[in-house]
């Protein structure tokens, strides 16, 4: 390596130094460090800060039907995650941010017969209205939202774990030219097993 550098002319060395400086220097974008917070065990009534939203899981239930919106289906069960979501940011944000925050293991997830693309369906707890795709949650507004997924009837609920991830605010994304976006973090904020009530 030393020989290689020694054989480069002065111009080439200067050029190399310049290139390194360009790559490292903050004015050219730099790198934004992701949050380094540790993962906490998931629990009910625990308020998590996703970035744009506060999210609290109020209850998790497995039911055979969810009137008035979901009928009984002997080939599956519904896992209903009831939450309280508040937009604590300064602008309207898509409700999809709360939906996409969820992940899980040993869920036994089944597709919805009428909607191939969705894993979670989102309903307002207070009005039973399914949230339209693309719905926004305005600043300081709180919704009680039920996230529902369809699962195998014999899913082992004791083994089921959920994870909630948060978002990092990205001011400029050089790839999409789409500024001021929330980008989903790879690491969860909280994960683990929460007690799941089994209903009729």
């Amino acid at each position: 390596m030393r020989g290689f550098v020694a054989r480069r002319s002065g111009t080439q060395r200067l050029g190399a130094v310049a290139a390194v400086l360009v790559v490292l220097s903050a004015p050219f974008g730099g790198w934004r460090s992701a949050s380094d917070a540790e993962v906490v065990p998931l629990a009910l009534d625990q308020r998590l800060d996703l970035g744009p939203f506060y999210l609290t899981i109020d209850s998790v239930k497995q039911v055979t039907e969810l009137p008035p919106v979901l009928e009984e289906d002997p080939t599956s069960r519904y896992l209903v995650i009831k939450t309280t979501v508040t937009n604590h940011s300064d602008r309207a944000e898509s409700a999809t941010l709360a939906e996409a925050a969820f992940a899980g293991d040993h869920i036994g997830i089944l597709p919805w017969p009428d909607r191939e693309d969705a894993q979670l369906r989102v309903y307002g707890v207070d009005d039973a209205v399914e949230l339209p795709a693309g719905e926004f949650i305005n600043p300081d507004v709180t919704y009680h939202l039920a996230f529902v997924l369809r699962q195998e009837p014999d899913t082992d609920l004791e083994a089921l774990t959920l994870a909630v991830r948060g978002y990092v605010f990205q001011e400029v994304d050089p790839q999409t030219l789409d500024p001021d976006r929330w980008v989903l973090d790879e690491d969860p904020i909280a994960e683990g097993h929460v007690p799941i009530e089994v209903g009729s």
Binding site: L14, A18, P27, F28, V129, P132, P139, D140, V141, T142
Partner: protein
Amino acid sequence: MRAPRLTATVAILAALAVGNVINTRLDVNTEQLHPVAEEGRIGKVTHLTYGDVEVTDVRPAEYVAPRFGDDLSPKAGGVFVLVSVKVTATREPTLFLSAYLEDSRGRRYRAASKANCAINVDGGTGIPVYALFCFDVAPQALAGLRFELSRGNLIYSTLNGDHLADVDLGISDADEASWRDTDAVYLAETTSLEPFELQEVTLDQVPS
């Protein structure tokens, strides 16, 4: 000869830095160029270069009932603010794409999709269109709300430099105090070529 090389290096770095600054500061994809606001008040016509905008009514609701079918009525997380407007494109057919509220802190509110009210206004030249916009707003942010309407597209942030109707809805602190407890239910409206009267209804079914 060191001097020319050093000069060249410094010149290259300086050019790169200047180029980066230009690209960041003059990025046409950000809202650096703010829309030009034309201030207005409820009940008065706001004249834009391409259209006339009049907010004719504003009132609160707890639920907005769908017009048709047996669908359930959406409930506001905060308070539904129902803004009735009369919009006329004046020079050519115009799509008024961005309709939003701004509160006294400058925060922006989007219309509630679940309320099934108007999303935008598609105006034929000289033909008034009547529209109802429904927003879900936190109860403590009601006083001082302003309604904003323009051609620009909220998604792609093309409000740059465009003329925007900026209408004070005249919601006072006293209004806010009484509105936050509203239990009113109205039928949703979208857009119409005929003026509409908001219809208050009672819900006969409460979801379990």
